[in-house]
Amino acid sequence: MYDFDYHKPSSVADAVKLLSADPDARAISGGQTLLPALKHRLNRPTYLVDLSGIAELRGVKREGDKITVGAMTRHIEVQNSPEVKSAIPALAYMATVIGDIQVRNRGTMGGSVANNDPAADYPSAVLGLGATVVTDKRRIAADDYFQGMFTTALEPGELLVAIEFPIPEKAGYAKMRNPASRYVMAGVFVAKTKDGVRVVVNGAGPGVFRQTDMEQALSANWSPDAVAGIKQASEGLNSDIHGSAEYRAHLVSVMAKRAVTDAG
């Protein structure tokens, strides 16, 4: 890599101060995405702000009808969390299919949601559950948060602190993972909440998006058969060496069906 400085603040306020002071400063959480980017020189920070010393960013809490996951909570902790497993098993399951265990031991939910890689898993749960992204400054509804490939509503210097997930009646997740990298080729998160049904597609397009035809169908009839016949249009989906847009569109229907089955 190359020359950069390093800071390890112990509070959100100090971290925000450091991140706001220099537009080329970068926060590091688990480092599973940032380090490869640094090695490829895709990212050249002046200094890194290590979030691992900030206790308030960690942990999972259940409060009433919502689960709050701290930004620095690692995938393995989500996977193992009794609160998540009992309240939103689909979210715990999602954590078990991210990368491999080495990655899950280091990677964090905040890192994944802040980065918003189109092939990431968590964004579909955040949008699918209608979660709220909590930052040091404000609360952002998931519908307003994701803004396309690697783009979010986060302002420069703004720090993602936690994500609040409303507890759904039912939820399910299914993904087709790239057999080599284990990134999502197409995944579908389905949830039935008191506010209605959400169906969110990840991996297939440039960012997560809601599949409204499937939402309507499931609102009328919550069953795998209800979505099995709904075709996803391939226009605008990703087409790359791992799969064509048509294949990803096909996968969306299959994964939706399997996600509903999984949700029960």
Partner: protein, 748 residues
Amino acid sequence: MSPIPNAETHVGSPRSRVDGRAKVTGAARYSGEFTAPDLAHGYVVNSTVAKGRITRLDTAAALAAPGVLEVFTHENRPRTAWFSYNYQDEVGPPGSPFRPLYDDKVVYSGQPIALVVAETFEAARGAASLVRVSYEAEAHETDLKNRMDEAYEPPKKRTGISPPPKPRGDARGAYADAPVKVSGDYWAAYEHHNPMEPHATTVVWEGGGKLLVHDKNQGVLNAQSYIASVFGLGKGDVRVVTPFVGGGFGSGLRPQYQLFLAVMAALELRRSVRVVLTRDQMFTHVYRPNTFQTVRLGANPDGALRSIQQHAIAGTSQFEDHQEVVVNWAGTLYHCDNVELTYKLAKLDTYTPGDMRAPGAPLGLFATESAMDELACATGVDPVEIRLRNYTEKDENENKNFTSKELRACYQVGAERFGWSKRNPEPRSMREGRELIGWGMASGAWEAQMMKTSARATLTADGKLEVACATADIGTGTYTILTQIGADAFGLRMEDVTTKLGDTTLPYSPVQGGSWTAASAGTAVQLACEAVREKLFKHARKASGSPLADVKLDAVSFADGRIEVTADPSRFVRIADAMRAGGVDRLEAEETAKPSMIDQLRYTGYTHSAIFVEVRVDEELGAVRVTRVVDAVAAGKILNPKTARSQVVGGIVWGIGMALEEETMPDHNLGRFMNHNYAEYHVPVNADVQGIEVVFVDEHDTKVSPIGVKGLGEIGIVGTAAAIANAIHHATGKRVRDMPITIDKVLG
């Protein structure tokens, strides 16, 4: 050569690897892990165009970066050999070898064009990003499809590679007349070796012009003679020592460019230099060529072959004609009177492809054995039965008998272990849950070769033996089998034998490849041990009052540190006493093993296999899982069933990768490989591999090599891809002739 009599032998018994402890404790040291005082680090800069000329190379910023010692380019390259023949190596094909930093010409994308040398790796990597290069790019071609019209038969044949046999009979006429015909076009993607250890060279500057080189390769002597020839050095000044190789699979047969660059920098800077390639850079040299084939089979309704035509076109570089045996296998495996096999090359603007695990064979047999499966479907004859109906006891390509051929037993044993008789021939006839199940099979063959190889055995009075040979152990188990052979020769425990390999000061060996090392180095070690035994026995007979004075060598056994009369073990002389009688404290012999010229003229030697595969296909996703493999292998004598099985299992895993996963994808517009990392080039992971059963069929062969060994490094991969493709057809009814068989092809 007489077999060494010994009731309890190490040879033939499962033995754990003698280098196992070093490998499981992290003590084994690989080429990029040797160090030296004042070690400098090199980082390679690669070209970003596929063809053209470097018009400007600005190294000023890199040179000014902290810690940078030098930036080598074609403009300041120290003097090296002028002629391209100086860059030839032991296994290279005909042509003019690539010469790193030779001039301003770019002949492939990823070509090394500069080496930044700095005090630390980070400094070198950082400075490498500051080298500015301008090119005058020329139109390039990396797409085999666009060059097939210009394909040609290589005018000069590559040493050791049999060109296709002359046509026999009238293959075209017989095909036209055949009542049953199958034909198809087959593709095989580019593949990269991807050994876990990236290519690396550490050159230790020993002063006085002497170099100690630790280089990742499959043959230290080949690397040594390359360096000596290119840099005009005496072989005495270059010692290459490579005790461990983190996977080769063919990628270490020829010297790779980091060797040249590290030696060049060390000579010029007069200090120790290490150059390690990154994983990305592992996609900037050798690979398995993109290959196109057409197969036509004509047969009688009972499945008897009347015509075989197989034609291949493989890509090669503009500067060398890499050749491998792709099409000959059909003519070796089956009886047929009308056979036409051709093999052509097409020039592309790429680096020269090279040997990759069983070069040629799995590609050729993917086509042949898929076509045989189609023929089985067309005639309604069982796939095993149709192969038995076309069985040949003679290699009809060469019109010679086989040294041995137990392929018939492979079919029978493999089918039985797999439960083949329960197969319903109808495609799509088996299903469980979401998945269709398919059973397929194929035959495999690989040439059993032996190469001239020398070895030394040294026995000391304390009953310890050292065996030594310059060959490599690239994970093959060579350390272990040579230890077993040596231990058996003197009735020693494995712990009493030390095997030394991978050092140019040791007796001659060719590169490790082609599955020939066990037969060749094994025989050499056995000969050297026999020579020491004879010397020892002579001394033992001379001992005063020797109980062996009136017996012959063939009447004694070596066991427990002594020489004893086989029929009466109470009569013996201890090794130490025999040496004392001879007035020596050590006995040494170096012997050279060579293949028998007479047997080579009369016979051809092949390892054979029959491989049976079960796949499960999720039809909604097109995803294929290989859930069961049975591979029955006839490979002559099995020296160590434990490591032998591992060799075959590894080959099968490679076959799974070839069939379903591995593909380096070029962007033909850029002339460059796109997926140059493990996240996008899919090699099999643990979850991709399930039950694999390997069965070694008994095969006694006295002609293939003096120790009856045929070799196992390649046979595991050979028929695997074809068997998987056939199983996919059985599961889905879909015949995919384009490897790898990825989801889109299964669904499409």
